[in-house]
Symmetry: C2
Subunit: 339 residues, 2 copies
């Protein structure tokens, strides 16, 4: 079986290779694609040097294509990739709201992936991180309202986002004024409540992605969700403060117990031991850290909690590879015979 | 009239002097006190060099004492200061929950200051910033539930907090590991959902301060408030994402109009022009920036908004001086005759 990465030289592409190296996914060959500018680059994979190729016009001779080169590329090329016989696991937002395209977090709604028509969408990073903690609670207690405030890392804007934070922070520490190209304003020591484009309702697209995608993944359009998405000067891992109103009252102990048996989640919740979710500890980790679990003071029997998840992993690369692993485990991914 | 600052060499003390320099408060003399370690320091005020004295054991011969040397000092000395005839405006949490002590944000409940018995408490910085935006909305529409997530600057822990962020960020940029003394964990490029001590209910004291103090300032104990207080790697200005359930439905336009006429608030809310509250623009500003005003997606007729306020100013020094100004304007602050 042959796996291809489109967008291999970006921040998520880098993580895709690292996750694939450790993955249980069985495949014979890895193909790397990127923009013509990056073609010819050499990247190491399992001790072998692979050469990055320019993404071709049409089909790619692979069984699984992990696409992470942005929505425009995915929109333009996915049909040809599917026609060529590949299953496309797309990290962009291009197809997430298409009712024909399953939007999948394997721990939550893996079975939805089995009903694909060639394309499976990987959710927005903020949603993927939140939904791992919220889905088990929703299943047991029924979430009615969900209020989310995010603390999003610069790597949400890719490698260039991290570079801008580091370079501009260096400027500020040397008494110079910070500039900005990637972000709407200088990011060092600042907070920017603006990620992706503003919509007519005053919310950003990033905020509405959390609303739309959480509903789609949980299969519940009645869920009321409000989100404030905020960029902060961190490198990787998105943190989120979440308040939940529940249909059936929960206790913090019961939620802690529930989440301690939930896949993809690490309960990190010992205030006395100063253990709670943080980018410092969650970065590079596959599991999403969940902590600060406490009874909500605004909803009787509701829950407040805090999550931190490496959005380059669970919010992107890891989730994409896990979808492929799930398909293979279910016998739904078969390599073509090749000469 | 004589004004004294206790804690003159700290971050808030520095801001107190700067605010007093530009203040309309009429006074003849400024006395500066700090710990014995800082005694002898010389600080400039309105072109004059003032010498910092060690805070004395007993009374201070001043008419107004602006106390910002921490709760322990205030608790120990306030009674003697009051006995000596001074009005104490205390920036610590020592007396905030004492029913005999008014907790005052002049734009919101200035008249409460007139009923003091010697001590007037200055609210917690996070509360002061939030309440300026929330109070006018509460008066007109009746807030039922308020969910707050904070993005708090390191200067909330004083000058040493800012120093630790700058020094440790420098370490990280030079490839070294960040350490921590002031904060519970290294703060550079990190997020720490832990400010002040944890309480039995799983909330931190910082979070409960927002609950207790907002209720006291608004004079409404039925208000349901939940807060997640988070330290982030910024230098000054606390930002807050706030979701409000209202008794009477509001529209974003009506709230924008209401707040544009509210004292202490600058409506900064033009998404297309990339105008919204940020530490970068709110730092050093007296008004609290309010923006991202939009209809809540979880409460019909409710409002989501975002605020950013320089917590060393409105959250501390500015508010304290404004209390003194208010008392003087009301004829409730008279200087003693002195030789």
């Amino acid at each position: 079986m042959r796996v291809a990465i489109v967008g291999a030289t970006g921040a998520v592409g880098h993580e895709l290779m690292s996750v694939l190296e450790k993955s249980s996914l069985k495949f014979d060959e890895l193909l790397l694609f990127a923009s013509p500018r990056s073609a010819g680059n050499r990247l190491m994979f399992r001790g072998q040097e692979l050469i990055v190729q320019a993404t071709p016009e049409g089909a790619i001779d692979a069984d699984v294509i992990l696409a992470s080169a942005g929505g425009a590329i995915s929109k333009e090329k996915a049909a040809a990739w599917v026609a060529g016989g590949a299953v496309v696991i797309d990290n962009s937002s291009a197809f997430r709201y298409d009712p024909e395209v399953p939007l999948v977090v394997p721990e939550v709604n893996g079975e939805a992936a089995l009903h694909h028509k060639g394309i499976i969408a990987n959710p927005n990073c903020t949603t993927a991180v939140a939904v791992l903690a919220v889905a088990p609670i929703h299943r047991k207690y029924g979430v009615k309202r969900m209020i989310v405030s995010t603390y999003q890392a610069t790597s949400g804007a890719g490698q260039k986002g991290m570079d801008e934070l580091l370079e501009q922070t260096h400027m500020v520490l040397h008494g110079k004024e910070a500039g900005n190209e990637v972000f709407a304003h200088p990011i060092p020591f600042n907070v920017i409540p603006h990620i992706d484009a503003f919509q007519d309702n005053g919310y950003t697209k990033e905020e509405m992605k959390v609303v739309w995608e959480t509903r789609k993944i949980l299969g519940d359009d009645s869920l009321k969700i409000s989100c404030t998405a905020v960029r902060i000067p961190t490198l990787r891992t998105h943190s989120e403060a979440i308040t939940l109103e529940l249909e059936r009252p929960a206790t913090p102990d019961a939620v802690r117990e529930l989440l301690s048996h939930s896949a993809g989640v690490e309960v990190r919740d010992d205030p006395e031991g100063k253990l709670y979710p943080m980018p410092l500890t969650a970065s590079g980790k596959y599991d999403v850290e969940v902590g600060r679990i406490r009874e909500s003071l605004v909803f009787d029997g509701g829950i407040d909690l805090f999550v931190a998840g490496d959005q380059l992993l669970k919010g992107a690369a890891l989730n994409a590879v896990q979808i492929a692993e799930y398909l293979q485990e279910q016998g739904a991914l078969k390599g073509k015979a090749r000469a």
